[in-house]
Amino acid sequence: MTFEYAPAPESRASVSIKPKYGHYIGGKFVAGEKHFPTINPATEEVLSSVALGGKKDVDAAVKSAKKALDVHWSKLSGRERGKYLFRIARILQERAREFAVLESLDNGKPIRESRDVDVPLAAAHFFYHAGWADKLEFAGVGTKAKPHGVVGQIIPWNFPLLMLAWKVAPALATGNTVVLKPAETTPLTALLFAEVCEQAGLPAGVVNIVTGDGSTGALIVNHPGINKIAFTGSTEVGKIIAESVASTSKSVTLELGGKAANLVFEDAAIDESVEGIVNGIFFNQGHVCCAGSRLIIQESISDEFIKKLQKRMEKIRVGDPLDKNTDLGAINSRAQLEKIKELSLAGDSEGAERWSPQCSLPDKGFWFAPTIFTGVTQSHRIAREEIFGPVLSVLTFRTPQEGIDKANNTPFGLSAGVWSEKGSKTLWASQKLKAGVIWTNTFNKFDPTSPFGGYKESGWGREGGRHGLTAYLKGVTHE
């Protein structure tokens, strides 16, 4: 006998979406010229129409940020600056349900995740950085450390509000003002954040939000009035940004792609590891730069492990992001779905074996069933390229050193997972793995106190903790 889950949808009543949005510049919404629709990827319903930022808008936003910096923000004490951040943290907590529902609508992620991960962590990031604002002289940055000035921030669509918080909170805590561009497909929570700034009484122009696409991002990166760039997104775009600022004095931090290894040793706790692998690749539909997209498993336990993993995958509930029982929501956009399909087909044609559980996908919207490929070799595209979807590539190893070598055989180096019940082995593996974040017997954990960022082509710099803070200051002693 099987039990079916009754639908348990979260109400949309907490959210009110305007039919059209402009840019948030100088403390007010200003009309844009051209607009483009933002849709719910689970239904393809048009949610609103947002402005496509052009040169005039970016100029106005940079000017407004510079004015706010000179006239107001740079004259405030750290203590007073911090109070604004504390207020923002509190308002985000107060309006948490509204943000969670809006995020799931615009992004397609399950409400369980937006409610329990994205929004609480966003509030936590503001609360954490609020406390730094009046303690910068103790942050190990020396007494000469100063804000960069106007910071241009470009964020991705996978964690729209959370990435906003990762960027805006440290920038404001250190005394910078901000021009932020949310991702093309997920602008709505950033625009709602403008209301939070209003409610917090944040001085006009300290945070400016310009919506748009890659062309808007390029205008921000290349604007002479921008002193620092913070970007989260693909390695491809990260390299373009690094090239574009080569002849300038702009400071840059980049948080880019990954192809994380989840390394499972034969002495791992099997059931826990299966849970960890599922969380590692299917959390947020696999739209995670640090997703554990390569399972690298010791050959002796491989067959048993894959069986258990498949059994567990049969229980993953795919569907309505607003349903509280949903595990796997919608793929964020048609373009992303096409990319996932294309790479999965490459997996088939290069000889890996595809498996997905039986699951019915909704007719409308963008969906991809949870998928694993076994028999993957290191040269396969699905072992080398970031798929950014719910697709796991399985490779095997015999000796621990071979496992490490396979894990490190990638130009990326953002994160890695290690599964073993032997403490000395997990620490040994942590030492050998070339990645900025190592999760041992856990995966996809985030915290504002914990620095996050990558080795090699996964980026420049860290976000979170004292290390992340220093990226928003110049003249840091140890620089």
Binding site: K445, T449, P451, G465
Partner: protein, 281 residues
């Protein structure tokens, strides 16, 4: 009685612990400050650089995972060896650059002392930059700085010994391996330093030294996909943008420095690694 004829030194490259000639067969003439010929050092090629990268990469894991105490003693050993050959370096520097022996002596002594200073950093930099992070959950979470990997160094034209030591010492302190391009106009002290390094228990491949033209070689340093970082303190200003652009291909960490003694020079070529470990019974 006839006058004794000097036995002059052939200046070669230093790659993987050996002293090969450049594969290109090219040399260039170095004269002293009075315009008198001194030596024909190698004009290193892109192939020599590639060979050096292979040697540096092979040496990285062993050097990075040597204990900090061990690395510290080896850096100190370089200082000991240099102290023992102080007079040779004083003579070479004053002959090559025309500075007074007193000034040359100051530079050699400062170089020795700088090596001692960095030797003391190997087992302290983690305490300076590492952290335990109080995450909101049952996890032990810590951040430690780790060496970056293979780092290139374009040495400054002037300050042929001190400027050179100020580049390589902080790079290797943390466990990186280095490929250094010596000052084009005054490369000889750097090549003599290779003899010091070769007798200091520095594992082969940890320090590799090339001589040649920075305008020719710097772009190859920048575009090499197996070089992780680049210290361009000695690079001509007009080349900086081009080098940074080429380095973007693999997101090389590219820095230049003004100070010779700074923990920032060590940390610039390190990466922070954060490890999460569950707490529970």
């Amino acid at each position: 009685m006839s006058k004794r004829i000097d036995v002059k030194k052939t200046y070669k490259l230093f790659i993987g612990g050996a002293f090969p000639r450049t594969e290109s067969g090219r040399t260039y003439e170095v004269k002293n400050s009075r315009g008198v010929f001194i030596a024909n050092p190698c004009l290193a090629s892109r192939k020599d650089l590639k060979d050096a990268v292979v040697a540096a990469r092979a040496a990285h894991s062993g050097w990075a995972h040597a204990t900090a105490y061990n690395r510290g003693q080896i850096l100190y050993r370089i200082a000991e060896m240099l102290e023992g050959r102080r007079d040779q370096f004083v003579a070479e520097i004053s002959e090559l650059t025309g500075v007074t022996p007193k000034k040359a002596q100051d530079e050699v002594e400062a170089s020795i002392d700088l090596l001692v200073w960095y030797a003391g950093w190997t087992d302290k930099i983690s305490a300076l930059d590492g952290a335990t992070n109080p995450v909101a959950g049952p996890y032990f979470n810590f951040t430690i700085p780790e060496s970056l990997g293979v780092v290139g160094f374009i040495a400054p034209k002037k300050s042929a010994l001190l400027g050179f030591v100020a580049g390589i010492a902080p790079i290797i302190t943390s466990g990186n391996t280095v490929i250094a391009l010596a000052s084009e106009s005054a490369p000889l002290p750097a090549m003599s330093l290779a003899e010091v390094i070769a007798t200091s228990d520095v594992p082969a491949g940890v320090v590799n030294i090339l001589t040649g033209k920075s305008a020719e070689l710097a772009p190859w340093f920048a575009s090499h996909m197996d070089i992780d970082g680049l210290d361009i303190s000695g690079l001509e200003a007009k080349l900086v943008a081009e080098i940074k652009k080429a380095g973007a291909q693999n997101l090389k960490r590219i820095h230049s420095f003004k100070e010779i003694s700074s923990p920032g020079r060590i940390l610039a070529f390190m990466e922070s690694k954060t490890v999460w470990h569950p707490i529970g019974v």
